[in-house]
């Protein structure tokens, strides 16, 4: 016994994947007047990220280099090297365009981001190492490395909240920056009760009370230091205002060390969703694309499922931004990386042959460089290697972009931007 399919849907553009890349492409297209549907299942990898956007691998950044190195970026970001050669756009223009759009859009949703995107901004991670990115929440940036040598520093730990281990943070910062001394201080907020191992959302939920924030403010006031690091406690709706309030009431510089898998990534995700909605995108959550129907050279429609029903969506253009192995956009069978939709060509960045389980490559490296192949217009290729006229790829689902052996969230977003440009022409 089964029920009929739900009513057919149609959109100018269907975007698969509700993470940073998908939402950015969707927002850009919607802004140009296209009707856009974004389909997502579950929670994106963006929600687990640091909430910051970088353009070059962390490992390649030297501590002293403040500017984005376009040459390195162009060389390492396949297929941009091709793209830049053949198109009128310079990489710098692309970054400027995309970043301006994002920074403005995110600010509209309550997330102030740095707007000086060609420089790397120093942040501290929750285990004390320096993290560099170009687009970060304005309230997290450290500024010059000098800051870490002058003034007094402290880090506040909330007993039970696991996102920031104040002792470990302090030990590592002190080791890595011998000219400063950062002291850990722990408090047990009364609102935590006897709870341990609180999740980020649990902390945010408890900290939504004024009294809880007041307790944190009091604790910070009692610290003899000008700069205080605190764990993430505010969701998007309260972030900027909350940080501002704490700064005002304590008179100190407040930093939120970079913490993956916590509120920061969720804030970015939420802000991007709101941006897409505000531009008129339809966000279809809890739905998964299980099949695509194509004719020669074109993809025509998709089959969505909810838990118990199916639905057909037809479109003029398709953008696949469904993420890498982690978020489920690509599948793994044994050591082979696969396209779960069985439509697109999977390839390995820098190598033309398909993935083979060989010790020569190091499985891990190959897995992270594997993904869907695109041409220099971001058009996805079918399994025979021919580009589709109306299907594009964006983000970590592409070969070479799996974060972090790719170039970070920034690289994925650039591909989304370019895909959107080309998708615009078609639909």
């Amino acid at each position: 016994m089964s029920l009929a399919a739900l009513e057919d849907l149609h959109a100018d553009v269907l975007v698969l994947g509700m993470g940073a890349s998908g939402l950015t492409a969707a927002s850009a297209l919607a802004q140009e007047g296209k009707s856009v549907m974004v389909v997502g299942r579950g929670m994106s990898a963006t929600s687990l990220s640091t909430g910051c956007i970088s353009f070059i691998r962390q490992a390649e950044l030297s501590r002293e280099e403040p500017r984005i190195d376009m040459e390195t970026l162009a060389k390492s970001v396949h297929p941009f090297s091709d793209l830049i050669e053949r198109s009128a756009l310079s990489l710098e223009d692309l970054i400027a365009e995309m970043s301006a759009f994002l920074v403005r859009g995110l600010a509209d949703q309550g997330l102030e981001m740095t707007d000086d995107v060609f420089h790397y901004h120093r942040l501290l991670t929750n285990i004390g190492s320096s993290y560099s990115c170009s687009i970060a929440p304005a309230s997290l940036t450290l500024g010059s490395e000098d800051k870490l040598t002058r003034d007094k520093w402290a880090v506040l730990g909330l007993l039970g909240a696991q996102d920031l281990d104040a002792d470990l943070f302090a030990a590592i910062v002190n080791h890595r920056h011998p000219r400063i001394e950062i002291r850990p201080l722990w408090i047990r907020p009364t609102s935590f009760g006897s709870r341990q191992s609180l999740t980020s959302l649990e902390v945010a939920s408890i900290m939504s009370s004024e009294a809880a924030v007041e307790e944190v403010v009091q604790a910070i006031r009692g610290i003899e230091a000008d700069n205080v690091c605190i764990p993430p406690i505010f969701p998007l709706a309260k972030f900027e205002a909350g940080m501002r309030k704490i700064r005002k009431l304590t008179g100190k510089n407040i930093f939120e060390p970079v913490t993956p898998m916590s509120l920061a990534g969720m804030r970015l995700q939420e802000a991007l969703e709101r941006l897409a909605s505000s531009q008129g995108c339809q966000l279809l959550r809890q739905r998964e694309v299980t099949a695509l129907r194509s004719s020669p050279g074109r993809v025509d429609s998709a089959v969505l499922t909810t838990r118990t029903r199916t639905q057909n969506v037809s479109f003029n253009s398709l953008i696949v931004a469904s993420g890498d192995l982690v978020a489920g956009g690509l599948g793994v069978a044994g050591a082979k990386v696969e396209d779960p939709l069985q439509t697109f060509k999977i390839g390995t960045f820098g190598r033309t042959s398909a993935l083979a389980a060989s010790a020569t490559f190091g499985l891990m490296d190959v897995a992270m460089e594997t993904g869907m192949l695109v041409n220099n217009e971001m058009r996805l290729m079918n399994r025979e290697g021919r580009p589709f006229a109306n299907a594009f790829g964006a983000g970590a689902v592409l070969a070479g972009f799996s974060y972090p052996t790719g170039v970070g969230l920034g690289g994925g977003l650039l591909t989304a931007w370019v895909a959107a440009k080309h998708a615009m022409e078609g639909s």
């Binding site: 281990d165 341990q196 191992s197 890498d324 192995l325 972090p404």
Partner: protein, 523 residues
């Protein structure tokens, strides 16, 4: 200069068993181990208490010993034994002659066995391949080797022995008829200490030849590497063996919620080889999947390998006896040095007893051996205090036995003590803090082994930070280096088996650690 009656070199299961036996006889004993206890073959084996059936045809001496000792260990070490039974299964192309010989030998040697038909085999183990023809039921069991080793450590110390890890032997002085002063060096601080023992026991396993040459005596040793793979999930109720002459990939051993498949036999040129080749991995999975098909798509957690110290024989590898050998170097003119090589985990206690008998005789000590009757660890029951779940209390009792109450104290009284530090193994932070105080614990791996933090199926993620945070004030090493070292160790084991779920896991881990935490260097 420290004086002692006996110095035992080597903290594998045999050395530990010897130290315990000697100490229980009232003999003043010091044991030194160059890494953490059970770092050699004792820490990287199949985790089996052999019924003996595997050796019944070709190695009846070893078989009989296994049968007797495994019975004994079930009594004295029940806390770490999973008495799940074993099944030998016959597949296509079976060697009928060998099968007959096996059944006969088990009867002759008094090894309990029962022949089962195909239906009975599948009834016992529903995961078996339908290609199974028939089987032989035996009393194999699983054992947790590290838990067994640590229980010997604790018991030996209670009996008065001094056991030191991270101590290597730098030099052994030799006079014409005896070994003299031995220089022991702390491998981490590089501090040296001199020890003078009446008798020296070389129980260094795969390193026994090296120790022997320091003492200028000769110990012929065959080094043979065996690899194993840990799979996530318990694929069988009990052990499953391939009924055929011993070869690669014969055995599946369930271990808690995992299954260990193994093993291989590769001649080794050095004692400290711990890497597994691609070919070995492929072979092991292929062979195991012949018996239990689901294994083909299982999530392999990690691979590990150690070198077996075998008594040399004419044929190599599989054919080499698993029997053990005592060498009294009196035959070479050295009065106070004895060596033990060969054997199996299952027979460690017997090996220890034999050496201890020999040593005691030399010392004129007539106390009888009690290791066959004294339980290794007392049974305990502990109620969960408020703030700790019954589940966690039970985990602690299983892991720590009589120590559990003290560990629980730490959890309850430390401000962060009841934080869940490792979710795979459900380890509380207080457990980490407790063992961080243990002088044996010098590195994150030591802490992980004692608490099981970081050893679960995710092979350590966030718990690496919890481990570092707990240990960092107690050791010299800087936290990031500690974390990186620990993760690299885990990574070495994962690399050979990257596929299925573990590949996704590792990609995810890399996503977090490399890009976000900036733990640069090495994937």
């Amino acid at each position: 200069m420290v004086r002692t009656e006996v110095l035992v070199i080597g903290g594998g299961i045999t050395g530990l068993g010897i130290a315990r036996d000697l100490a229980m006889r009232g003999i003043k004993t010091i044991l030194v181990e160059r890494k953490d206890f059970a770092a050699g073959a004792s820490g990287g084996n199949h985790g089996m208490l052999h019924s003996g059936a595997r050796y019944a045809v070709r190695d009846p001496g070893a078989a009989a010993e296994c049968a007797a000792e495994s019975k004994m260990l079930r009594h004295i070490a029940d806390f770490c034994v999973d008495d799940c039974g074993g099944l030998f299964v016959s597949l296509e192309g079976a060697d009928a002659t060998y099968e007959e010989q096996l059944i006969r030998s088990t009867r002759t040697l008094g090894i309990e066995s029962a022949v089962l038909n195909k239906k009975e085999c599948l009834g016992l183990e529903p995961g078996l391949s339908s290609a199974v023809l028939h089987g032989l039921r035996v009393r194999d069991a699983g054992v947790d080797p590290f838990a067994l080793a640590m229980a010997n450590v604790d018991s030996a110390r209670t009996a008065g022995a001094t056991l030191l890890n991270y101590r290597c032997v730098d030099s052994i002085a030799r006079s014409r008829k005896e070994v003299g002063e031995i220089i022991i060096r702390d491998t981490m601080t590089r501090e040296a200490e001199k020890v003078k023992a009446e008798i020296v026991v070389n129980a260094a396993g795969a390193w026994a030849a090296g120790v022997a040459s320091l003492a200028k005596v000769n110990v012929p040793l065959t080094l043979d590497k065996g690899s194993m793979i840990v799979l996530d999930g318990r694929f069988s109720h009990g052990l499953v063996n391939h009924l055929r002459p011993p070869s690669d990939g014969d055995i599946v051993v369930p271990s808690h919620s995992s299954s260990i498949i193994g093993t291989t036999s590769v001649p080794a040129h050095a004692p400290d080889i711990t890497s597994t080749s691609e070919d070995e991995v492929a072979k092991l999975i292929e062979e195991a999947a012949r018996m239990i098909p689901d294994i083909g798509a299982a999530r392999a957690v990690r691979a590990y390998a150690r070198v077996r110290p075998l008594v040399p024989s004419e044929d190599g590898g599989r054919r080499t006896s698993r029997d053990f050998k005592l060498i009294d170097h009196e035959s070479e003119g050295v009065n106070n040095l004895v060596t033990i090589i060969g054997g199996k985990l299952t027979t460690y206690r017997l090996m220890a007893e034999r050496i201890a008998d020999l040593v005691a005789r030399k010392l004129g000590n007539r106390t009888l051996c009690r290791t066959a009757v004294e339980p290794l660890r007392a049974h305990v029951f502990m109620k969960a205090p408020p703030g700790v779940t019954a589940f966690h209390a039970q985990r602690m009792v299983r892991k720590y036995g009589p120590l559990a109450e003290q560990v629980m104290e730490t959890c309850v009284h430390s401000p962060r003590g009841t934080e869940i530090a490792c979710s795979c193994e459900q380890v509380l932070r207080g457990e980490l803090e407790h063992f961080s105080e243990d002088p044996d614990v010098r590195r994150l791996g030591d802490l992980g082994r004692r608490t099981r933090a970081g050893l679960g199926f995710c092979q350590s993620g966030g718990c690496a930070f919890a481990l570092a945070s707990a240990l960092m004030d107690k050791v010299e090493e800087e936290p990031i280096a500690m974390i990186r070292g620990f993760l690299e160790e885990r990574g070495k084991g994962v690399q050979p088996v990257l596929a299925h779920g573990q590949l996704r896991q590792t990609v995810f881990r890399s996503y977090l650690l490399q890009g976000t935490y900036g733990l640069e260097g090495g994937k």
